[in-house]
């Protein structure tokens, strides 16, 4: 870090151990910094930053319905991010959750699309199960490519997401198109029994939030308490040590991707069987990519991810508000998401390192 010393007169020194407080503080600092940066950007764009701030970050808390929408968004984000974080800790970078989410939605929709008249309490549970299988199957392609063919999982999983989007288009414009749907690219509306039970009357919050929280508990137990989770983590931190200890790399790859695909597919199924009620193009508003940010912002820790998914859900709902009331393009949410992750990575540097001022006289040696 001699460039820091010569330019600014300080250097970074690795901490012997990171404090828990700083680890927890880093995402908060990142959030504040990203907020300030983005408000400045809106100011430059000629928008009223106070209005945007109000619509984006306060309005979601001002009415029960607004807040319930936040809880609704939190479900899929929680599922996707928890699944991805397990892989990220093992250094398996599955960034194709978007595609796995779409496949989950497609698999789940097969039941109501093919049996639109079917009734029975088994329908939505079967859809969720099928969705999880669909997501896991899509992820297993990436797992095979990585484990057997040694191909980079980042590129393969991303390409598969782009293919999944085309597959969705194909189904919606072709075989699965609602014949009575005025040519809109969407399927029939699902029957009553294909819909998830609502959690709070008068809102759209359904039980997928509970599944998300339950999955978070499972992820916590798996990563913090189980031997398999420990093996995954060692594989990520010290691959050589993991190999020496006989931990199988290919098992890590399969497990990471299958868990990630399962969770994303489940989330996709819960989205079509929940707030949307049919298969359509906009089933995922970038949950797969937002999940990556949530996973990092939560420090790749199951508990941190619960908080991070809440923050991201606020941003989604607030972004919608800002689009309506402050005339802000929806792309602003993507900019916010990207800058939060960057700010977090910068803030996290100071969890690992501390600043040390270099003595003017000694600077030559630095």
């Amino acid at each position: 870090m001699s460039w820091l010393a010569s330019m600014f007169g300080f250097r970074l020194v690795r901490r012997e151990r990171a404090s828990l407080m700083m680890t927890a503080l880093a995402p908060v600092v990142a959030l504040v910094a990203a907020t300030i940066l983005n408000l400045a950007l809106y100011l430059i764009m000629g928008k009223n930053p106070v209005g945007v701030f109000y619509a984006m970050l306060l309005e979601p808390f001002l009415s029960w319905y607004g807040f319930s929408e936040v809880l609704l968004k939190m479900g899929p984000l929680l599922l996707v991010a928890q699944g991805l974080a397990i892989g990220f800790r093992a250094k398996i970078f599955n960034i194709g959750a978007e595609g796995q989410f779409i496949l989950g939605a497609i698999f789940a929709s097969a039941i109501p699309v093919m049996y639109p008249e079917a009734t029975g309490v088994w329908i939505w549970p079967a859809m969720l199960l099928l969705g999880a299988v669909g997501g896991a199957l899509w992820a297993s392609i990436t797992a095979f490519w990585r484990a057997r063919l040694n191909a980079n999982e980042i590129l393969v999983s991303l390409m598969l997401s782009l293919v999944a989007a085309q597959l969705l288009n194909y189904l919606l414009l072709g075989p699965w198109k609602d014949p009575a749907g005025f040519n809109f690219p969407q399927t029939v509306m699902f029957q009553y029994d294909a819909m998830l039970p609502i959690l709070f009357e008068g809102t759209r919050v359904n039980i997928s939030l509970l599944f998300g929280l339950f999955f978070s508990v499972l992820a916590f137990i798996f990563m913090q308490r189980s031997f398999q989770g420990y093996k995954l983590e060692v594989g990520g931190l010290a691959p050589a040590a993991a190999r020496y200890a006989g931990f199988s790399e290919s098992r890590t790859i399969w497990l990471s991707l299958l868990i990630g695909g399962l969770a994303a597919g489940f989330a996709g199924a819960a989205e079509v069987a929940g707030p949307i009620g049919q298969l359509q193009r906009s089933i995922s508003t970038g949950y797969g990519y937002a999940g990556i940010i949530v996973a990092y912002l939560g420090g790749l820790h199951p508990i941190g991810i619960v908080f991070a998914s809440f923050v991201m859900a606020v941003l989604y709902i607030g972004g919608d508000n800002a689009m309506v009331s402050a005339d802000l393009p929806i792309a602003a949410v993507r900019v916010f998401q990207g800058s939060i992750l960057l700010c977090y990575l910068i803030a996290f540097t100071f969890v690992r390192y501390r600043l040390e001022w270099v003595d003017q006289l000694k600077r030559g040696e630095a």
């Binding site: 870090m1 001699s2 460039w3 820091l4 970074l12 764009m45 970078f93 960034i95 392609i141 490519w145 057997r148 063919l149 040694n150 191909a151 980079n152 980042i154 590129l155 393969v156 991303l158 390409m159 598969l160 782009l162 293919v163 085309q166 597959l167 288009n169 194909y170 414009l173 072709g174 990519y289 990556i292 940010i293 990092y296 393009p329 792309a331 602003a332 949410v333 993507r334 900019v335 916010f336 998401q337 990207g338 800058s339 992750l341 960057l342 990575l345 910068i346 996290f348 540097t349």
Partner: protein, 303 residues
Amino acid sequence: MNAIEFVLAGMLAAATPFLLAALGELVAERTGVLNLGVEGMMALGAAIGFIVVYNGGGHFAGFIAAGISAAMLSLLFAFVAIGLQANQVAAGLAIGILGQGLSALFGKSYESLTIRGIPKIEIPGLSDLPLVGGLFTQDIVVWLSLLATLGVWFVFARTKTGLILRAAGENPKATHSIGYPIILIRVCAVALGGAMAGFAGAYASTVYTPLWADGMIAGRGWIAIALVVFGTWLTGRIFLGACLFGAVSLAGLAAQTTGVELPSQLLASLPYLVTIIVLGIISSNRRLLKLNGVASLGEPYKP
């Protein structure tokens, strides 16, 4: 014009966005930095380039502005990933999302507008040849990117600068110990890679299909990263790979015009499917990757 002529004539132009972005990524990766933000840098370049050309700045200024803006985005990546030694994968993804968001934000009021492209230059004699004549009728950017390909090959294969760049990626510690500034070398390589991605984006939005639409880069930045792996970090193979992708994206169009009954979604996903398949074939040859790969790719350098 038959299908073969059609593909031959359009292949190089279709390959150019892939080629420019992949060459830039190659330079960065050779010095040891994996920048996954190419898609976002290309998108930003495409938006800025289009805006400048639309407002009457001309294509030259459009390319320069696109290159500078994407290079600035890549410097942000360099600050986080190289300067602060953050996780390169996460930093690259963040830059990718940020770039795509910024491009949509800036390009919002230009949605679906079109501009005029640039004329193609004919080479007397060669352009009149039957069948392959179209291959020699290209716009100036195509010719320049072929020059750039040669230039990158020459620098890495024949010059001391190339040797130092490669050393920074192979063994940064040893390179630093004989007096070369690793951080500076890597930051410059990343900035160059960013500028190239910006040019690639500007070519896509102001020359190849002279219109702006959100999401128009459509995974080309990611394919460019894959191309570097396909080419096993060798310039000539990356060029061939880019041509393959140019041809694949045209083959889809050609198939449609010849009346082959295929769903358009299948044709649209052809480049992605080919990427997945080729990636599997090349990567399964571990020896090949190890032989040409960059030893310290993706690892932050800690002085």
